[in-house]
Amino acid sequence: MTTVFKRTPVLKDCPTHYCPGCGHGIAHRLVAEVLDELDIQARTIGIAPVGCAVLAYNYLDVDMIEVAHGRAPAVATGMKRTNPDKIIFSYQGDGDLAAIGTAEIIHAAHRAERITVIFINNAVFGMTGGQMAPTTMLGQVTATTQQGRNPSNGQGYPLQVSEILALLPGTVYVERCALNGVPGIRRTKAAMKHAFQLQMDDAPGLSLVEVLSPCPTYWRMSPAKAMKWIDEQMSQVFPIARLKG
């Protein structure tokens, strides 16, 4: 018998704490596969966010740090500037990167920090109970937009961070992907690999992959319906596209 599919060595053998149908499990595996295929496990340092993925170091077998909410790009800056030979990546959710950490991501990009950012956009704050995120869709019901997100109630519009970052001269690569089925997952992996490769090549700036990722629990949908919702709704506001590089 031939093994056609196995656990990638950079992924630890342990039970998951993520909800059924959550995208983090897939995204973790993709990061792990990419680190393995690029053979950079031994010189990579990962940064876990505050949010559901705070325990990313329980799954990813690389040196990792856990940091304050939103501050990962600043921590990454401190690491990369003092260790230019290391591969530094942050793994951040939309609350982390697009709300409290907006200043840090904008300015890390603005300074052209040579780091890689994996940005998981699931349109809600997952860990705290499904509150509105900056990326929440108009009309989307969350714990803090119980009538649906409505800009005329002062709740604002979905924030397209990747488009903003792509405008900055300090980014070398910005791509938005989605974990909505096999083609999307394959594309996401290719994007992640490219983003890490750029850092290995010492490309002069920040690379970011935004990943539209399902949160069936707080979208109040079945996992299958959540995938469909990315297709039909989310990717209309957050278009799947190579925005830069």
Partner: protein, 349 residues
């Protein structure tokens, strides 16, 4: 050199690998000096977008085992408290310089000692402490830097150098002799990539039942060690003193002059000057207080250190306060006046 430049150069001599900072008066000479000198030495300088970012850059560099520092002044240090708390939880070494100015709020840019509570009580959320050094001359400010880096590495924690706007700005001659250094532990916990070893994780989240309490207890045991071994204070003309003044930093310079003048008038005055503000020289003050008739605390705040002095004196004699808040600087004459009044009161008692 001015104090700000002296401490910056001293940090470089002490092996500071990376400086991260955001401009704020009255410590801007540090940022400017570091922006020139660090690249000359092949080391890292980053002007951050905020104090939040600066302390988190320190956090990142420190986690990889590098010697990292930042500097700021009072409002900026308030913004850094989140990061300082995380540094405590993750047990990472870091050096933070606070060149204090008047507060609260934006306050003013005059010298102050009003961040004593914030510095010596931890400052951010959670059960933790930082070692706090309170130099009182430009030379001592420079001498504090290698000590701060060594203490940070030895105990894996933040060491704060608590200066003020006068110390930062004033010019005095300085000798930057690399001092004999402590034997420091290696850093097997550092994030350097897991070549030839298992994964390292730097964290401050402890969700399992009892795990955080265990961390807190471990931190407290470490702090106990520091209280036993790292207290520094200077005693000035206290042997036969009846009236003793406790002051630190620039206020102690003024008090020293007042003590000398009081002695010239035949008043048995002396001074105890804490150099470490945490750990506080409680035992030294407490033991000496057996023979004092009265203690005066002089500080440039409404009275913060005076609480530690009262705890140390523990009711053995009266403890008074001469505090000047909001950028007010006491003169030696006004301190001398307080000493004279106390002499009358002590005589009457």
């Amino acid at each position: 050199m001015c104090g700000n430049e002296a401490l910056a150069e001293a940090a470089i001599v002490a092996g500071c690998d990376a400086y991260f900072g955001y401009p704020i008066t009255p410590q801007n000479e540090i940022t400017a000096y570091m922006s020139e000198r660090m690249p000359q030495e092949g080391r890292v300088f980053v002007q951050s977008e905020s104090e939040l970012a600066a302390i988190n850059m320190v956090f990142g560099a420190a986690a990889t085992g590098k010697r990292a520092m930042t500097s700021s002044s009072s409002p900026g240090i308030s913004l850094m408290q989140e990061g300082i708390s995380y540094l405590a939880g993750a047990e990472l070494p870091a050096v933070v310089v606070n060149v204090m100015r008047g507060g609260p709020g934006l306050g003013n840019i005059a010298p102050s000692q009003a961040d004593y509570f914030q510095a010596t009580r931890g400052g951010g959320h959670g059960d933790y402490r930082t070692i706090v050094l309170g130099p009182s001359s430009v030379q001592e400010l420079a001498d504090c830097m290698p000590l701060a880096f060594d203490l940070a590495d030895q105990y894996r924690m933040t060491v704060m150098v608590l200066a003020d706007g006068i110390l930062g700005q004033m010019m005095e001659p300085v000798m930057l002799d690399p001092k004999p250094r402590r034997q420091l532990p290696p850093k097997p916990w550092a994030l350097t990539g897991m070549k030839d070893r298992r994964q390292n994780i730097v964290r401050s989240l402890y969700l399992a039942d009892g795990a955080l309490e265990e961390l807190n207890n471990r931190l407290m045991a470490k702090y106990q060690q520091i209280q036993e071994h790292e207290v520094l204070c200077e005693e000035y003309r206290v042997e036969d003193a009846e009236i003793v003044i406790v002051a630190y930093g620039i206020a102690a310079r003024i008090v020293r002059a007042a003590v000398d003048q009081a002695r010239d008038e035949g008043i048995a005055a002396g001074m105890i000057r804490p150099i470490t503000l945490w750990p506080f020289p409680s035992n030294q003050i407490g033991a000496a207080a057996e023979t004092f008739r009265m203690v005066l605390t002089v500080e440039m705040s409404c009275g913060q250190m005076v609480e530690d002095v009262k705890l140390a004196v523990a009711g053995k004699c009266p403890v008074l306060l001469h505090g000047r808040p909001g950028g007010g600087v006491p003169t030696d004459d006004e301190v001398l006046d307080r000493i004279r009044q106390m002499t009358i009161r002590a005589g009457a008692a």
